[in-house]
């Protein structure tokens, strides 16, 4: 059906995956016609329920993209509306139409804007061309989702992933998760920003960062677009250091702009750069990771660890997470939802730690109330850095919902 017309019109274009195993996605073929008039053919797994709906949506999208004449064929495997719009827009743009025009799906409610120092224990990677994983990602309650435009997207699909991710940022409810986007390396990454910043991502991950100037450039570009689209929410930055040079420049990168909130590391690329094998224990990257923690603390931001690649090995993941926390990391990446609870557990302070910290904080409050400069607990004097650490730990534990209700003033819990 779709292939036969290819030679007749050189601007014919396609988008989206084909095949019977495809789920929750669609294939679109668009063929521009000289004459005015739009012809739409829909085949769909859900034709009995949404056949007319898909037809009407396709018509609307073509109109919004300024298409006056053309033939559109849709083979839909139960895709949600934001995916249908994205695939049609991709095909139309590939055909050379719709420049500077967008067809946006309905705007969903966005979560509260991200605080600079919010919890970032877990960030779930979602390949930017796999919409079926988007819609329920928030239900697994990661602290963040990463819509990935970089390594999980084939070079020939960068354009379609951008449009899909843009639509997802606008239409998908990710719950309380922070909405992150991993762009491509510069300069390709700048084109990603052009497409997605308008939909107010909470954070941009900058891959393979080696120099502070790269961060500055991304920040400038983000701010320009955000201003243009009147985005009032902060768009934070998280550089990913993935080379020896990047690690050497960690502090400069961490302090490149006010909007950098965390440093993270990509261990596959980093170990490849060193020419060493990445192991389960990770001793080969100890220096780099500790260097990151130090650089990030020195500029007052968070440090987030890499991903743990073996999804089936939750014990290995838990060990890694606990060691990472002990080193000063505040979270790590996840490549499967089942890693989320394991990571949250690994990065949670223990009940004993919390209890001790609560006692110190109570003693500190008591001393403040009584105007005492010295904090004491029982017969022991508590040093100021110990108080600071306890305050920080209690704040974290509260954010993780680990402090018993009696210890939290009413109204602070969700």
């Amino acid at each position: 059906m779709a292939g036969s017309a290819e030679t007749e019109h050189k601007h014919r274009a396609e988008a989206g995956p084909r095949g019977n195993d495809v789920r929750s996605d669609l294939h679109v073929a668009f063929e521009p016609l000289e004459a005015r008039g739009i012809e739409i053919q829909v085949e769909s797994r859900v034709a009995a329920y949404y056949g007319a709906n898909i037809h009407a949506q396709a018509q609307r999208v073509l109109t919004e993209l300024g298409v006056a004449g053309g033939r559109l064929s849709i083979r839909d495997q139960g895709a949600l509306p934001f995916v249908i719009s994205a695939r049609i827009e991709t095909a139309v743009r590939r055909a050379g139409f719709g420049k500077d025009l967008r067809s946006l799906p309905e705007q969903t409610n966005l979560p509260a804007p991200s605080a600079k120092d919010r919890l970032r224990r877990s960030r779930l990677y979602l390949p930017g061309t796999e919409p079926k994983y988007f819609v329920n990602a928030g239900l697994h309650e990661p602290d963040a989702v990463i819509l990935d435009l970089e390594d999980s997207v084939h070079p020939s699909e960068k354009d379609s992933a951008r449009i899909l991710v843009r639509n997802a940022l606008r239409a998908v409810d990710f719950g309380a998760a922070e909405r992150m986007v991993r762009i491509n390396q510069l300069p390709l990454g700048l084109a990603d920003l052009e497409e997605v910043v308008s939909e107010a991502p909470d954070l941009i991950l900058i891959p393979k960062t080696e120099r502070a100037e790269q961060v500055v450039e991304v920040d400038r570009c983000v701010q320009e677009i955000a201003k243009c689209f009147k985005i009032k929410r902060p768009v934070w930055l998280m550089p990913i250091l993935e080379s020896a040079l990047g690690v050497e420049n960690a502090f400069a990168i961490a302090s490149a702009t006010q909007r950098v909130v965390a440093l993270t590391i990509g261990l596959e690329d980093y170990t490849a750069d060193l020419g060493v094998v990445k192991t389960r224990e990770g001793n080969e990257s100890l220096y780099a990771r500790q260097r990151l923690v130090n650089a990030a603390r020195a500029s007052g931001i968070q440090t987030i660890d890499s991903v743990y690649g073996d999804v089936a090995d939750s014990d290995g993941l838990r060990d890694w997470g606990q060691r990472a926390r002990a080193m000063g990391f505040e979270g790590m990446g996840c490549i499967h939802p089942r890693q989320i609870p394991v990571i949250h557990e690994a990065f949670a302070p223990s009940a004993i730690e919390i209890e001790k910290a609560l006692k110190i904080v109570a003693a500190f409050d008591e001393a403040q109330k009584n105007g005492l400069g010295v904090v004491s607990l029982g017969s022991k004097m508590i040093d100021p850095p110990v108080v600071q650490r306890a305050l920080r730990l209690v704040a974290q534990a509260k954010a993780m919902g680990l402090v018993p209700a009696a210890s939290v003033p009413a109204g602070q819990e969700r």
């Binding site: 859900v46 329920y49 697994h140």
Partner: protein
């Protein structure tokens, strides 16, 4: 072409035929609304003088057995489904009947499977007139598209027993595939190369049918122990090389779902059972074979260990996961309705605490009670649930037949019935305004658990109270429905069906609960390579 004409509106508000396959019907009158009268039916009296004194009832083959049973046009031939998709016997019996020239038979399986798809050809050829039993895949499509001559009748496992004992269906010849049997006709399903576990679903057929043929590929000298099927009810025994494909009779191991969304549903189910106080010493639950049901058992097992709570009994669909509970001492008994995997088949053959049950003990509504209502928690699936908590398990939302009722309707009588379902599949909402086919009354459905939230039937104030203040995501079903419709881009169109009935759905008391209509042709439908079952 008309299928019996006059319709009436039943207590569920559904239009149902007054006559089905020439038999007058009672319309559904609400849960407990129908008063049965009269006596149970019984097969003709037989005498030992007509059977061999040495107990050897073997005949050469199925055709001989059918002939000696007096096979005639229009007869009712029954079979059971414990060999599942590996069964060879039912099809062989119908084909033998075809060769003998029989026509217009009614096939009365306890369930049908894809391996029996070629029955459509026997229907085309006029050998089989219609099917009363679950129909899915090609058989479901055949019926849904209006090609079957009679009306399909969908009954629950308990409803099938009820229909037989009440005389609604008179079985002329029961053909019972038996993994182990002796020449007298004693039989069980626990042993032999085609072992399938319990033979409970063939029990009614053996007791009430006019003629009974036992077909086995593992003939043992008398006595065949245990004898779940008693030879005293059996006319003929046929020995075959093979009654089925063992690899399709039971799966090696049943798999827990890997889908993170379904794992989430399973976790919510287990937490609900714990937090609502249903998981208490001596409690009982029923779990099926679907991926969600298995995953929920794994979560519940951990919680039972942690709280040192032991169940008195669990009901299956038994699987490795239930067998592990038994071995670990987390339950005293498995009351087995059907046996799904190799571990469970071995267990039922060797562990006296793993007990084979039948639809009579478990499910039959026209008895002096049954086990189903004594179970504390039943976890079931559905294709659709509406905002009144009514549910559908037999058709897709587009009206096509998908699935049999199984024990589903019978299990609704549990103390707490939980439907564990995704909130939508692909783009198709599972939570709807009104179910396409009415199979389970909402008053018996207590909780709907999805990956997004848990909704409790407002009738169950006790459950709402029990989980007050819990961290579970509990909210009204209407709220969930609005959310799903927003995600899916509006409400789906209603099923496009014609005015012609193709099947009826019976309630557990034999009344007609709903009608399945011939589906209308919809343009541009893509069919997936394999259709999801409603786990």
């Amino acid at each position: 072409m008309s299928h019996g004409g006059e319709m009436t509106k039943n207590a569920a508000g559904r239009m149902v035929p007054k006559i089905v396959n020439d038999r007058p019907q009672a319309a559904y009158a609400g849960v407990g609304g129908y008063e049965p009268t009269g006596d149970k039916c019984a097969p003709p009296i037989r005498s030992c003088k007509d059977y061999p004194a040495n107990g050897d009832k073997r005949v050469a083959d199925l055709a001989t057995a059918l002939k000696r049973c007096g096979l005639k046009d229009g007869m009712v031939i029954s079979s059971h489904h414990h060999l599942r998709n590996g069964d060879r016997v039912a099809l062989m019996a119908l084909e033998a009947a075809a060769q003998l020239g029989a026509r217009d038979l009614m096939w009365f399986p306890s369930a049908s499977f894809p391996c029996q798809a070629s029955v459509t050809q026997l229907m085309d050829a006029g050998v089989v007139h219609h099917i009363e039993g679950s129909m899915n895949g090609p058989l479901g499509d055949y019926c849904s598209s209006g090609k079957m001559r009679g009306l399909g009748v969908l009954r629950s496992h308990g409803g099938r027993w009820q229909a037989i004992q009440d005389g609604e269906v008179k079985i002329d010849i029961a053909v019972i595939a038996a993994p182990t049997a002796d020449s007298f006709g004693n039989a069980n399903g626990a042993l032999g190369k085609s072992a399938c576990g319990s033979l409970g679903f063939a029990l009614a057929d053996s007791i009430y049918a006019d003629h009974v043929i036992v077909v086995t590929d593992n003939l043992v000298p008398f006595p065949c122990i245990p004898w779940q099927i008693q030879g005293n009810n059996v006319d003929y025994v046929v020995e075959l090389e093979s009654i089925g494909d063992p690899s399709k009779i039971v799966s090696g191991t049943t798999q827990i779902t890997r889908s993170p969304d379904r794992v989430k549903i399973a976790e919510y189910v287990a937490r609900f059972i714990r937090d609502a106080g249903l998981m208490r010493p001596g409690f009982s639950f029923q779990a099926g074979s679907g991926g969600i049901a298995l995953a929920f058992v794994a979560f519940l097992r951990d919680m039972m260990r942690e709280s040192r709570v032991k169940a008195r009994f669990v009901r299956g669909g038994s699987t490795k996961y239930l067998v592990d509970l038994l071995k670990e001492g987390l339950t005293d008994y498995i009351l087995d309705g059907q046996t799904f995997d190799l571990d469970a088949v071995r267990s039922i053959a060797s562990d006296p605490r793993h007990v084979a049950t039948s639809p009579f003990t478990s499910y039959n509504y026209h008895g002096k009670g049954n086990f189903a209502s004594m179970v504390d928690v039943a976890v079931l699936g559905a294709t659709e649930v509406d905002v009144q908590f009514n549910a559908n398990v037999v058709t897709h939302s587009d009206g096509r037949l998908l699935h049999g009722i199984g024990g589903w309707q019978n299990c609704l009588f549990a103390g707490c019935t939980i439907l564990a379902v995704p909130s939508f599949r692909d783009r198709i909402p599972v939570i709807v305004d009104e179910v396409t086919t009415f199979v389970g009354p909402g008053e018996l459905i207590d909780v709907v658990v999805t990956e997004r939230s848990i909704s409790i039937n407002p009738r169950r104030k006790d459950l709402l109270e029990a989980v007050r203040g819990s961290s579970l995501p509990i909210r009204p079903i209407e709220e969930l429905q609005r959310e799903i419709q927003k995600i899916c881009g509006g409400a789906p169109e209603k099923a496009k069906v014609t005015e012609r009935p193709v099947a009826v759905v019976k309630w557990v008391d034999g009344t007609v609960l709903d009608t399945v209509w011939q589906v209308a042709e919809v343009k541009g439908v893509l069919r997936p390579s394999r259709e999801a079952s409603p786990e």
